[in-house]
């Protein structure tokens, strides 16, 4: 392993993040606060409790997931798309590095940024509601796995995208709806039975459910399923990336 190369990529990518630190920090704080004002205060005052948890606290895991997933995807997809766009990818392709090292560098940095934002949101939410975390270790595990797996997905999107529109397309058309319909702001037991069944085909449901279980001990699906789902998803992304680097798809002409 060329660890020096991994560290170099990671540092170079993180530098991009630090250049815009204020922005990286402010936007999640602001959007979280807005969600609390709208969902927590306006709607929450009518919903009261969901499965024994106050609505304000109930939406916290979903909010974190929402941001972490979108951030992971956008950071990683931009991170690898940008060198392709400006042409600096030539250096990666001509360097003595293998695909694993490139992925570790880029995905590692993207996941770190997503994790940072997840933590900022948790801290911001703490200002609005009391949150107790029943299973802190499981919480961290779910959070980290989600950051990593969706950064992997973002990396694939970044390599696939031929222009900025395509870069936005997948998150906009597929991921955002899946997250919103994945129980970020409600328990699926609140849905009519037909929709409950349909929802089970949404992979994000398993993530949010597992993550919420780590907080409150309540979940829509058994927590084992959640772990299995995220493990499968990570494995799938890794397999696709492995194939991309073997074939040079969209990277080498």
């Amino acid at each position: 392993m060329n660890w020096t190369a991994v560290a170099s990529i990671y540092k170079f990518e993180m530098a991009r993040f630090f250049r815009t630190l204020a922005q990286s920090f402010l936007s999640p704080v602001l959007s979280t606060s807005l969600y609390f004002v709208v969902f927590g205060a306006a709607i929450g005052s009518r919903i009261d409790h969901v499965e024994g948890v106050s609505y304000g606290a109930f939406i916290v895991p979903g909010l974190i997931m929402l941001s972490v997933i979108t951030q992971g995807i956008s950071n990683a997809s931009f991170g690898i798309y940008f060198p392709k766009f400006i042409g600096t990818v030539y250096e990666l392709l001509s360097a003595p590095v293998n695909f694993l090292e490139i992925v570790l560098g880029y995905v590692g940095a993207a996941a770190t940024k997503a994790l940072f934002i997840g933590v900022v949101i948790l801290a911001t939410a703490h200002l609005f509601v009391d949150i107790t975390i029943l299973h802190p270790l499981a919480m961290v595990l779910f959070l980290v796995l989600t950051c990593v797996s969706f950064s992997l997905l973002g990396f694939i999107i970044g390599i696939w995208a031929k222009n900025f529109e395509q870069l936005q397309l997948v998150p906009l058309l597929i991921i955002t709806p899946l997250i919103f319909l994945g129980g970020s702001f409600y328990s699926i037991s609140m849905l009519p039975p037909v929709w409950q069944t349909i929802t089970l085909f949404n992979p994000v449901v398993y993530l949010i459910s597992g993550f919420r279980w780590a907080f409150f001990g309540v979940s829509d699906v058994p927590v084992g399923f959640s772990l299995l789902a995220i493990a499968l998803f990570t494995g799938l992304c890794l397999a696709v990336i492995g194939w991309i680097f073997r074939t040079g798809w969209r990277l080498r002409s």
């Binding site: 170079f12 030539y90 003595p96 590095v97």
Partner: protein, 309 residues
């Protein structure tokens, strides 16, 4: 000397089916400077990209320092530095960090003294904390060179390194290249400036239409292909070449007061004596004579236009 880079029957067809390299064979000796000359679209960049791993070859093989570029890509690539033709740089990063990144990416441990030295040689040290986007085009090109040198390559590819660099700086860069050669680095450069090849190269390769037309010692090439022109200046203007001199294949000079004779320096008989005798016999009076050696540029234009025909 030993061979450091060996290319055999290298072919490259792009996705559209266009064959940009049609079986290139080339051996490069350790420590030499090879200049690759060729018109736009000749395949120079394609050749370099294939060796460096940016594009994949359709067939053929390449070894660098004995390492196959596919099966032993780590060892092969670790030896190579590449200065691409296009200016591709991260616009928001500083010069220093960009160069540090390159060194790390190639797996080399931190060496700030070396990076300082490189940046100073390329007159970039004062700009080390500037963002790339604040630099001029010529400075950016030098950053590309600094990046390539940062990981101490044994073989350096320079794809038109002096395009867009002013004369002063171009001379500085030649100096840097010569120093590198002194330290044993093998250099392959492509250029459109023939004077550059003439000034720097040990050997010159000419490529056109995806094929290497010739690779030769620069001095041999110039001696072999070199033609000389003899200009015979006259005291009186003339309107046509006199019929008495027809067998000499002369041209009338642009000023209308001279005759131009082209001959091959390596030929056994240059025909100068006979010509001068006949000029006198034709009743023309000489005021002066001058000779001019054809440059690499003329040779190159000859070769490439011959290829088109």
């Amino acid at each position: 000397m030993s061979t450091i880079l060996s290319i055999s029957d290298l072919r490259k067809s792009y996705a559209g089916g266009f064959e940009a390299l049609k079986g290139v064979n080339l051996e490069i000796e350790e420590g030499e400077i090879l200049a690759l000359l060729g018109p736009n679209g000749a395949g120079k960049t394609t050749l370099i990209s294939t060796i460096c791993g940016i594009t994949t070859a359709t067939s053929g093989s390449v070894t660098v320092g004995g390492h196959c570029i596919e099966t032993e890509y780590r060892a092969a690539r670790a030896m190579i530095g590449l200065v691409p033709q296009e200016i591709n740089l991260e616009p928001f990063e500083t010069v220093l960090n960009t160069v540090r990144f390159s060194r790390g990416l190639f797996g080399k441990p931190k060496n700030e003294a070396l990076i300082e030295d490189i940046l100073k040689k390329l007159s970039l040290w004062d700009k080390r904390s500037s963002q790339i986007k604040e630099l001029s085009g010529g400075m950016k090109r030098r950053v590309l060179i600094a990046k390539a040198l940062s990981h101490e390559p044994r073989v350096l590819f320079l794809d038109e390194p002096t395009a867009g660099v002013d004369v002063e700086l171009r001379k500085d860069m030649w100096e840097v290249v010569r120093e590198l050669r002194e330290s044993g680095v093998t250099i392959i450069l492509t250029t459109h400036y023939i004077e550059e090849a003439e000034a720097m190269a040990d050997r010159v390769g000419v490529i056109a239409g995806g094929e290497i037309l010739l690779v030769e010692e620069k001095s041999d090439l110039m001696a072999r292909m070199g033609k000389k022109e003899l200009q015979v200046m006259l005291t009186e203007p003339i309107s046509t070449v006199p019929a008495a001199l027809a067998e000499h294949d002369l041209r009338l000079g642009a000023d209308g007061q001279s005759l131009v004779y082209t001959y091959d320096v390596t030929a056994e008989r240059t025909g100068i004596t006979a010509l001068l005798n006949d000029v006198a016999a034709a009743g023309l009076v000489l005021s002066d004579v001058a000779t001019r050696q054809s440059s690499l540029e003329d040779i190159f234009v000859d070769l490439v236009s011959g290829e088109d025909a």
